[in-house]
Symmetry: D2
Subunit: 419 residues, 4 copies
Amino acid sequence: MEALKIAVIGGGSTYTPELIEGFIRYYDELPVTQITLMDISTERLKIVGDLVQRMLGDLPVKLVRTTNREEAITGAHFVVTQMRIGGLAARALDEQIPMKHGVLGQETTGPGGFAKALRTVPVMLDVARDVARFAPDAWLVNFTNPAGLVVEAVMRHTNVKVMGLCNVPINMQLSVADCLNVAPERVELQYVGLNHLSWAKVLVDGRDVTREVLETQWGSSGGEVNGDYLRALGLLPNYYLRYFVHPDHVLREQLTTEETRAEYLQGVENELLEMYSDPNLKEKPALLETRGGAHYSTSAVRLIRAIAQDRREVHIVNVRNGHSIPDLPQDAVVEVSAVIGKSGAHPLANGSLPPAIRGLTQAVKAYEELTIEAAVTGDENTAKMALFTHPLVPSWDIATALWNDIKAANKAYLPQFKG
Amino acid sequence: MEALKIAVIGGGSTYTPELIEGFIRYYDELPVTQITLMDISTERLKIVGDLVQRMLGDLPVKLVRTTNREEAITGAHFVVTQMRIGGLAARALDEQIPMKHGVLGQETTGPGGFAKALRTVPVMLDVARDVARFAPDAWLVNFTNPAGLVVEAVMRHTNVKVMGLCNVPINMQLSVADCLNVAPERVELQYVGLNHLSWAKVLVDGRDVTREVLETQWGSSGGEVNGDYLRALGLLPNYYLRYFVHPDHVLREQLTTEETRAEYLQGVENELLEMYSDPNLKEKPALLETRGGAHYSTSAVRLIRAIAQDRREVHIVNVRNGHSIPDLPQDAVVEVSAVIGKSGAHPLANGSLPPAIRGLTQAVKAYEELTIEAAVTGDENTAKMALFTHPLVPSWDIATALWNDIKAANKAYLPQFKG
Amino acid sequence: MEALKIAVIGGGSTYTPELIEGFIRYYDELPVTQITLMDISTERLKIVGDLVQRMLGDLPVKLVRTTNREEAITGAHFVVTQMRIGGLAARALDEQIPMKHGVLGQETTGPGGFAKALRTVPVMLDVARDVARFAPDAWLVNFTNPAGLVVEAVMRHTNVKVMGLCNVPINMQLSVADCLNVAPERVELQYVGLNHLSWAKVLVDGRDVTREVLETQWGSSGGEVNGDYLRALGLLPNYYLRYFVHPDHVLREQLTTEETRAEYLQGVENELLEMYSDPNLKEKPALLETRGGAHYSTSAVRLIRAIAQDRREVHIVNVRNGHSIPDLPQDAVVEVSAVIGKSGAHPLANGSLPPAIRGLTQAVKAYEELTIEAAVTGDENTAKMALFTHPLVPSWDIATALWNDIKAANKAYLPQFKG
Amino acid sequence: MEALKIAVIGGGSTYTPELIEGFIRYYDELPVTQITLMDISTERLKIVGDLVQRMLGDLPVKLVRTTNREEAITGAHFVVTQMRIGGLAARALDEQIPMKHGVLGQETTGPGGFAKALRTVPVMLDVARDVARFAPDAWLVNFTNPAGLVVEAVMRHTNVKVMGLCNVPINMQLSVADCLNVAPERVELQYVGLNHLSWAKVLVDGRDVTREVLETQWGSSGGEVNGDYLRALGLLPNYYLRYFVHPDHVLREQLTTEETRAEYLQGVENELLEMYSDPNLKEKPALLETRGGAHYSTSAVRLIRAIAQDRREVHIVNVRNGHSIPDLPQDAVVEVSAVIGKSGAHPLANGSLPPAIRGLTQAVKAYEELTIEAAVTGDENTAKMALFTHPLVPSWDIATALWNDIKAANKAYLPQFKG
C-alpha cells in the first residue's frame, strides 16, 4: 500500500471532524496512511485530536498532532488549509464594522471579506512558501475563505501547486438533484464565475432544465435569491448572490438581529468543543452541519482522490483562468469545471459570460486583484481603492471610513500596513 | 468649391447657435455650402432658424429649414443628431424618479440615462435607417446622449457610417492646458473608457505629468471628484465620474436643491428662446454656455473637417471597440483616441485597463449592452436586468420599482414595451 | 432497455466490420438496438451487410440496410459518417497528381487532401442537412477525412450536433503505454493541434515523461519522424507530421514505389470483399488492420458510449475551438481533449502553443478555412489561394498548375465549380 | 534654438549621405544641431565624414566622428542604427549558402536573413544597452535589417525606447500615387504585417481603390508579384512577398546570374567610396539610389521630426503589437500604422487578418521568435528549429544542413554558439 499523508493546517478547527469523517467514509477507496493536524492552539489540538483519534478507531491511519508547521508539511502529499486568522472574534468585527457604515457585514463578501483577506493572505503565503520548501511536490488544497482570492494570491506570488475548493457546487448539485428527484450523477452543472459569485446552467441527461428548476421550490427558496430575478436571468445562482441582489434585505435583517452570525457561531463552537470533549463521542455530531460545511468532506475527499489516483474526472474548483472565461484576466482565479488528475486542474474553455452576469463578475474580480495587491504591498491607497471598487461599497467616502475602521480593528493582524 | 451639406436633426434645439458659431468660425478652412435644420417643431425652426440666418450674415451658406427628415437627409454629407426625445419635461422626470428611490437622478448616468436611452434608441435607429436610404455615403455624427450607448445601438442594428462625439475630451484638454499654462496642442491625452465614464493620462511634450496636474487646482476642483481618490488612482477623470465616486453627496445635493437641473435648464431655455427672438441678436449669446455645451462646436467642426478633408489626425470619439480595449467586447462602443479621415475612425490599440477602473467600466458596458437590447426588443425582464446591473442601482427590488415608475412615466415614448 | 439506433452512412465500406466488431465487443456496456447500414452501392450493402449479420449472430441487434439516406437517418441517435466520395479511384488521383508537380501525394495532407475536401464537403453538408431534418437530436460522429476540416464545414454551415474522431490519439496512447510498459489508462496525453497535425506531452501518473518516451524506440521509429527534430521539439508528434518534416523523403519514396497507397489498398479492398463474401466468415479478418483503421472501433464505441451514457469523461476529438487554443480562430475546429457527455464536447482551455508548432498549425488552419470557403462557394480564386497557402505547396505557379489538374480530374465530383 | 543631436551607429556606411541629405532637405523644419557618425572603421569615417562635411556646407550643424560608441551615444536625442555585421562579404555568404541547398538566397528573407539576424541581434543588444546607460531618454531608431526582428529582440531584452523603420511603406505610397496620378498625401495605406512581409489596402479620399491599383501597371509589375495572385488576394503586397510567392523563379534567376546581389553591391560600394573621396563632390550621388535605399531619408527624417516635435501623426513603423493584430502574440513586433509623437508609437487596432495572409504571417512570426531566442541563447536546437519553421525551408534535413553551413561560415560572428 502506497503512503498517503495529509497535513491539515488549522487542524484544531471544529470543522476537522467533518473532514475526517470523509476520509473514513471513503477509506476503502482512498486509504490514507497518515493525517497530521497542525494548529497554533495546543488546547484545540488536544480536544479535536482526541475526538479524531476515537473516530478513526481501528483504521490503520497514523494520527499526528503538532504546532510545528515544518513538521506537519514535510513528507505530506496534500496540505489542506482551513485557517481562520483572528478566529471568530475577528469575524464578528468583519460583520459589525460594515453595518456601522450602512453596508452589509458578511464573512467573505464585501468589506468583511476584504478584512478577512488582508489578514489571511500573508499567512497563506507563508504556508505556501513552507510547502515550497518542505514538500515541493505536495498539492495545497485550500478551503480558507475567501477561497478564490486566497488561491489567486498564492498563484501570483509562489510556484506551489494549489487549487481551491468550496462546498457550494456540491450542495447545488445535490439540492437540484433532490428537487428534481434524480440521482446526483445525472445532474450536470455548467458552472462559471468566481468563488461565492457563480452561476450554473443545469442539465439532466444532457438536456437544459434550468428553467424547470427555477420553477420548482429550488427557484423560490433554495437559492435565497428573488425568483423574478432568477427567471429574468435564467441561471441558477450561488446563494451568496443574495448579498448582491438583496443587500437591502440582508442589511435590514442584520440590523434587527440580536447577534451576528459570528456571535451565533461562537456559541455553536463552544457547544461543539464541549461535545468533542466527551470521551464517548466517536463520530461527527449532527450540530456540526449547522456551521455551514455540509458535504465539504465529500467534495474534499473526492477531489483528493481524483488527484491521488489520477482520475482525470470533472470537478468544480478554483483554478487559474487562462482563457477559460475570456472576459477575465488570464492570471485571475475562477471557479469553474476542470479536469482533475495528478497533473493538476485543467479548466474547460467556457466562452464569454452573458452581460447580465459579466459586469458584476468582472467588477468583483477587479476588487479581488486590488485586494491581493493591498494585502501583499501594505499600500493604503490600494486598500481604499480595493474597497471602493467593491460593488457593495457605495462611495469613496464610505470606502475611506470603512478602511479606517478596518485598519484600527485589525491592527494586530495587519503588520504589512505600517503607515 | 466642393459642395458640403450638413443636416442637423433636432435643428430647432437652443444648442444650434453654438454649432453654427463653430461653422462660421472655421468657415475659411471648412466652407460649408448648405445647412439644413430639421425639427418636429415649426415654432422652434422659426425662432432658431431666424437667428441662424442672422448669424450667417453674408456668408454664402444656404440655410434650409424643414420638418421632413427625408428632405433634410437627402444629399447631406454629414447628418448631425442632437435630439432630445420628450424634451426637458422628460429629462425632469429622469432626474426626479430615481431620487424617489434613493438613487441619484441624472440625465445620462444611472436610471435617468437608462430612461433617456429607451426613449432615444428607437428614434435614432429610425434616423439611421433614413440615412441608409437617403444618404448612404453620409456620416452620422451623433451628439445625442447617452452618446456612446446610442452609437452602439446604431452600429449593432444598422450599417450606417457613424461616430459619436462628446465635449468632455476637449474641455479636459483645454482646462489642463490652462492649468499648466501651456498651449493646448502640447497636451496629449491618453484617454480610455466609455462616454461619460473615462480617464486619461496627461502628457506634455511626451512626458507624463498626470500627477502634477492632480496636485494643481485642477485636481482639487476641476474634475469635481475627490482629490484623495484621484491621487490614489493617478488618472484624470471625466467629471461625470463624480456620480460614481460620490453618489451620496450628489443625491444629498439633489434632495436639498429646490429645482432639478432640467427645471433650471427649462428656465434657461425659455430665456434663450426669448433672446433668440430678438431680431437684433446676431450671435450666440453668452448665456448659452451655461447649458454645458462649451467647446462643442469646436470639437464638432474639427471632427467634420478631419473627415471631409481626410486629415487622418487624432480625435477622441465614440467608436467600435474591436481590440482597442481588450477588456471590453469587440462590438462595444468606446470613447478613445482614433485616427479620423474620410475612411472613418480607426481607434488606437490601448491595451488592458488597470483594475481600479477596469471593473467599473466593464460593469457599465454590460449595463449599456442590456439597455440597448431592452430598447430594441421591448422585453421587460431585460429592462429590469439592465437597471439592476447598473452600479448605481443597489438591489433588484429597487431596480424593479424604478422600472415600474420609468415605464409609467415614459409611456408615450416607449411603444416598444407593450406588456 | 432503451433504444439505441446507429446509422452508418457509407455502411458498405470494407471498414464497417471493424466498427461492428467494436459494438459487439462493448455490447454488454452499450447495448445497441439497431444498426442501419446506408450506402449508394447495393452490391456492397449485400456483401458487407451479410458479413455483419453473421458477426452479430444471436445478439438482439436489428440490422437494416438501405440506399435511402432519409430512411437511415430517421430515428437514429447517432449518425456515423464514413464516406469516400469518388472511392479509391479518386484517392489514387489525389496521390498521383501532386507528384507530377513535385509535391507529395497524400490522402489527407497537402493537395491530395485538398481535392478530397472539395469532393467531400458538399456531400457532408447534404448529410448534415438531412440529420437536421430527419433526426435533429442525433449526434453526427464523423470519421470521414479530412476529419477536422469536414467537421468545421458542418459547424460553419449547419446547426447539427457534430464531432469528429480520429484513431491517431488512441494509437498514440496505446503505443506509448506499450513502449513504457504501463497500463494505457495511466498515460495522459496533453494533446493539441488539428486533425493529422497534432502534438502531445505524455504524462504518466501526472509526471511529464515526454523526453523519456522520445529516447525510447517510440521516439526513433514510432512516429516515423526524425528523432533529432523530436528531441529539439520535446513533443510527441502525430505521425502525419512526417509529411511536413520530411516531404523530400516521402516524395522520393512515392516516386520510386511502383504503386500508390490507393492502388495498394484497391488490392486489399478486393481481397477483403472476397473474404467477406465467404459465408463461413463470422468475424473481422486480420487483413483489415492493414488498412490503417486500427483501434478505430474502440475509440468510436467509447465516444458513443460517453455521449449516450452522459459519462462526462475526457476524449480527444475534433471540436469547435472557442478559446481552447487562443492562437487559432474561435470558429476553427481543433483536435483536443474535451469532456464528452450528452450535452456534447467541452474542450479544455489549453493556452497558447509554443512557437515551434504554432506557425505551422496556424498556416494549415488558414489553408483549411480557405478550402472550406472554396468547397462551399465554388470560387476558383479561393481554391487556388487555399492551395497556395498550404505549407507543402511551394509557389503560386505550382498552386495554379495543381488546381488546373485537380479540377480537370475531379470534374464529376466538383459541380460547384462551374467556371 | 533647442539642441537636437543625432548619433548614427554605422555612420561610415555608404548610405550615410542619403540620410544626411534628408536632414539638410528638412533643415528649416527640423534644425539638427549635431550629427555624430560612429563606426568601427576609421577609414570609412574619413571618406564618408569628409563628404558629409562638404554636404553640410554652411549649415550650423556640428559634425562629430568617432569610433567610440559611448561618446557617440552620450547626449544624443536619437540613436540611428544602420550597421551591417560582417559587411557585404557576410551578405554574399547569406545569399550563396541557401542556394547550395536549393533554397533562395536573400539578405533578409529565409536562411540568409536568419544568418544576418544571428550576427546582428547580439550587437544590437549591446548598442541598446549602451543607449540605456548613456542616453536613457533617447529614441533608438533602427534601420538595420532584419528590421522588425531586430526591434523585437531589443524590446524583449531591454527597456530602451525603440522603433524600427523601413522604406517599403513610403515607396509603396509614392509609387501608387504616381500610378494613380494623385498627390501622395491623398493616398491612405491600410497597412498590416511584418517588416518585409506586409500588405495594404489603398484608399484615395477615403475610397478603397485597391482593385483599381491592381489593374494598373503597378499591379502587373510594381510589386514584382504575379498579377493573378494579387487579384485573387485583393491586397497590395510588399515586394519582398515575391520571395514567398515565386521562390522557384527567384531561385532560378539567382542560379543563372553570374554575381549575387552582394557581389554586385560590393562593386557599387567601391565605386561610391571612390566618388565620395572626390573633394569636389558636395551632394549625394545618383548612383546611391541603386543600392535600394530610395526615400529612406525622407521617411527617417519625417519620423524623427514627428517624435521631436510631438506631432502625433500617422507613420508606418515597426512597433510592439499589443492587440494591434490580434492574430499575433502581444510581444511580437509588427509593421503597422501608428500615431507617432514624443510619447512614442501607438499602433492602431487593426483587427484580424484575412486567412489568405494570416497563416503566412503567423508562420514567419513564429520563425522570428525562435530566431531571436536562438540568437540570444546560442542554443543549436533552437537555431535548427527556427530554420525549419521558416516557410521557405522545405524539410528538417535541409534545415539541419543549412544550419551546419551557416554556423561554419559565420563562426567569427556567432560567439554565442559555443557547441
